[in-house]
Amino acid sequence: MTADNISKIPLPGDPLPPLPAAGEIGPHVCEIIRLYLAVLPDLSLTPEQQAIIEEHVRACAACAEEWQLLNVAENLIASLGKSETVPSARVDQAVMAVIAMRAAPPVPAISSIQSAPLTPLAPATIGRASRQRQRPRGSLFRLLSQLAVAAILLLALLATIHFATNVQAPSSAFALPANLTWNGYVLYYTQSEVDAHGETYEVQSYHEISTGNMHVEMTMPGQMDVVVVKVGQQMLGEDMMHHVAQWNPQGWVVDDSVFDLAALKSELQSHRAIYLGKETFHGQPVYEIRLSNGQVLLLNMRYQPVNVLQSATGSGAATPMYTTVQLIPAQQVPDSMWSTQIPSGFHMGELPPGP
């Protein structure tokens, strides 16, 4: 087999462009040779193919330089590989606990949930010959059953605590300090939300109180990562996964009006909001204020928001709506958070519909 005829055939299992013929020159030849050089350790080359590449690199100063550069990169990165790390004991324990929980026997009391539809995490698509098979899903149901039992017990406990504290709650006079302001702070919060398809996504929001500027990121690992920056009336949406930007995209605005201090003052003055009393939330003392929409706003002893409890249901249970709520001094948040400059590499287009 000659170098000429092998060069026209793509390498089996290596869908790179075919190697150029020996002695062929031109920019396209360099381009192909460099591609081969970059992944050379992964290729199974015949001696003839190796000879074509070596001959080209000997004759082409630019490709020789590229070859050196690639070697430098590979050696440097490979040096990271010398240090192998292992997960800590707590990770081992947590993973083994999840595996053990899957294998635990089902809980009969709520076995009825086994008929509920499942939405397991989408596994990676693996491009190999697939084995289509139906597997029993009992283990996952068992896991869900146990999680559901735990959730019910927790809700019951919360409900009990909530009722008990409500009974004792003083309705004594409560007023926010007259000079209270959250200006100079950025309201930061994170929360898990559920979209129209029942999929959970994470929201991370920064809201500069004094200006109303917002920076919100909504993510669903592997499926969605959208950042919305709102400055004044202008809003820029950025699809971080597809590098698409859009002005004023629809359906991507989050509502955090529950943290509007002026509205809170107004509701308290007009008695539409009711002070429920002092409570302890996640180890810290908080003031509980029931708003006109039924939600309960929690403020710390410095009158800063801590969380919001969802409207109590018939069972009396009230659950926190946010994972984290924090006021951060505005000077600690970089101005770049409010930048509505379109990032380099992004093109204008249309964002997918909001969740």
Binding site: V86, R133, L140
Partner: protein
């Protein structure tokens, strides 16, 4: 020019570093692939299969995440998340021929999310208003550790490499670490990142160039900083 044979010997070395999940260490795709056939999955015992899966992949996945994120605590958190997700998705997983690619894909998605978040948010510490780094957040201040700055050379060099990696676009850093540090061939990098093999090769090629440019830039900046 170093011969192609020299390069192939090097490839074997990189593969060897990941011996525990490659089976053998000749550096080819065939040897790299996860040995899912040896998992008890084939025998239908899920708990046993998942335990074996964890035992087989805990080190390479943790190392991969650590190499990308450069922080042990983050690597622990993300590793835990990877395997918990794997456990939850296990029953719905019909294709089990390439579990390593599946796990790497979950890990990659989680790492990329975290890296993007880090890049957008660089907090200044509460205690002072200096520009120093806080735990888990890459910062330009790491350049103080560069090898030419008089720090411990090996640690400084590793920090230098990590800083160069963290300054690259995430998808390029991922491709580079998978290929050059984990010893995963470009064809498998394509499977993990969901692109064509040709695109994966192109991405690795560009990533190597980008990395060296960034590394050299940091070197120059470090020297300039020392000269001042």
């Amino acid at each position: 020019m170093a011969s192609v044979a020299t390069r192939r010997a090097y490839a074997s070395m990189t593969a060897e570093k990941s011996m525990d999940f490659q089976g053998s260490a000749t550096g080819t795709e065939q040897q790299w692939k996860g040995n899912s056939d040896h998992l008890p999955a084939a025998r239908g015992n899920d708990a046993e299969a998942l335990s074996a899966l964890y035992e087989q992949f805990r080190r390479p996945i943790h190392s991969y995440i650590y190499r990308l994120l450069g922080n042990v605590d983050d690597a622990d958190d993300v590793t835990q998340e990877v395997f918990v997700r794997a456990c939850l998705a296990w029953d719905g997983l019909y294709e089990r021929d390439n579990l390593s690619a599946w796990l790497y894909r979950i890990a990659t998605n989680l790492c990329v999310d975290l890296m993007r978040r880090r890049k957008r948010i660089s907090w200044r510490p509460l205690a002072s208003h200096s520009d120093g780094p806080i735990e888990g957040v890459q910062s330009e201040d790491n350049s103080a550790l560069l090898s030419d700055s008089g720090g411990i050379p090996e640690i400084a060099e590793r920090e230098h490499i990590r800083l160069a990696l963290s300054n690259m676009p995430e998808e390029y850093a991922v491709a580079l670490v998978l290929n050059a540090a984990q010893g995963i061939p470009y064809q498998e990098v394509a499977v993990i990142t969901g692109i064509s093999p040709n695109a994966a090769a192109t991405r690795i090629s560009r990533a190597k160039r980008m990395f060296v440019e960034e590394y050299q830039r940091l070197n120059r900046d470090g020297k300039r900083g020392n000269a001042r």
